[in-house]
């Protein structure tokens, strides 16, 4: 639910919702966006939508993150792959030399 504190009214025609996405629902053959009732927008009002940025679903975001991790994973030759964490720790000790 959108909290009233999360939007600002810059002028009577412009509302800005901060970090609160609006969800698109399916209704018959239409896609519907619900608008919080405390905003001064009534049924029948016409509004312009600009700067629409689609937010990834959680599944899309996680899939994108996993892909990025896979891309970066194993991308260097550091010569430590056969070291145990204890051996690596000793190897890093030189950082104090």
């Amino acid at each position: 639910m959108v909290n009233k504190k999360n939007y600002t009214k810059k002028n009577p025609q412009i509302f800005e919702l901060k970090d609160k996405p609006l969800t698109v629902y399916k209704s018959g053959n239409s896609n519907v966006i619900t608008i919080p009732s405390y905003l001064d927008i009534k049924p029948g009002d016409k509004i312009l939508l600009g700067n629409i940025k689609k937010i990834d679903s959680e599944t899309e975001r996680i899939a994108r993150d996993f892909k990025k991790i896979k891309e970066l994973s194993g991308s260097m030759k550091l010569g430590i792959k056969n070291m145990s964490p204890e051996e690596l720790d000793d190897f890093l000790e030189g950082v104090y030399d």
């Binding site: 970066l72 994973s73 550091l78 792959k81 964490p85 690596l88 104090y96």
Partner: protein, 145 residues
């Protein structure tokens, strides 16, 4: 909602970027777990310092900018430094002594204490004795390190 923060120790990054190994796989799962559960992995300049040093030592090259960039572009990783005062440094020395932690490990442990970070992702068992830190367990792995 505030995302839970997990401190990422240098060994996680080193094994992740290294060629395939058991620990690379485990590091990958830790990063995947952060993403899955929308947690934030925290690194700081001390982690980057150790990472940088290791790359120079291993690759014998000073061209490591891209390597560091890779670490900083990992998903769900946030770089954040804090300022340490003289008192902080004395506290760190005390922690190093009390919990038998190496210098950088003591810095990591104190950083977590100060930043109220309760978990650390690491393969270093030395952190097991720090009472305010729990070793992060990826919910995606079944490791037994």
């Amino acid at each position: 909602m505030i995302n839970e923060r997990i401190f990422i120790d240098t060994n996680i990054l080193l094994y992740l970027f290294e060629q395939p190994s058991k620990f690379q796989d485990l590091s990958e799962k830790i990063l995947q777990s952060l993403s899955t559960f929308n947690q934030i992995g925290i690194i700081n300049s001390y982690v980057i310092n150790e990472f940088h040093y290791n790359i120079i030592k291993a690759q014998r090259t000073k061209n490591i900018e891209s390597s560091i960039e890779k670490a900083l572009t990992l998903p769900n990783i946030e770089y954040k430094d804090i300022k340490f005062t003289q008192n902080d440094v004395l506290e760190i020395a005390k922690i190093s002594n009390t919990y038998n932690l190496k210098t950088f490990d003591a810095y990591h442990a104190y950083y977590c204490k100060k930043e109220k970070i309760k978990q650390i992702a690491t393969f270093d068992s030395d952190f097991k004795n720090t009472p305010w830190l729990k070793i992060y367990q990826s919910s995606l792995d079944e490791r037994n390190v």
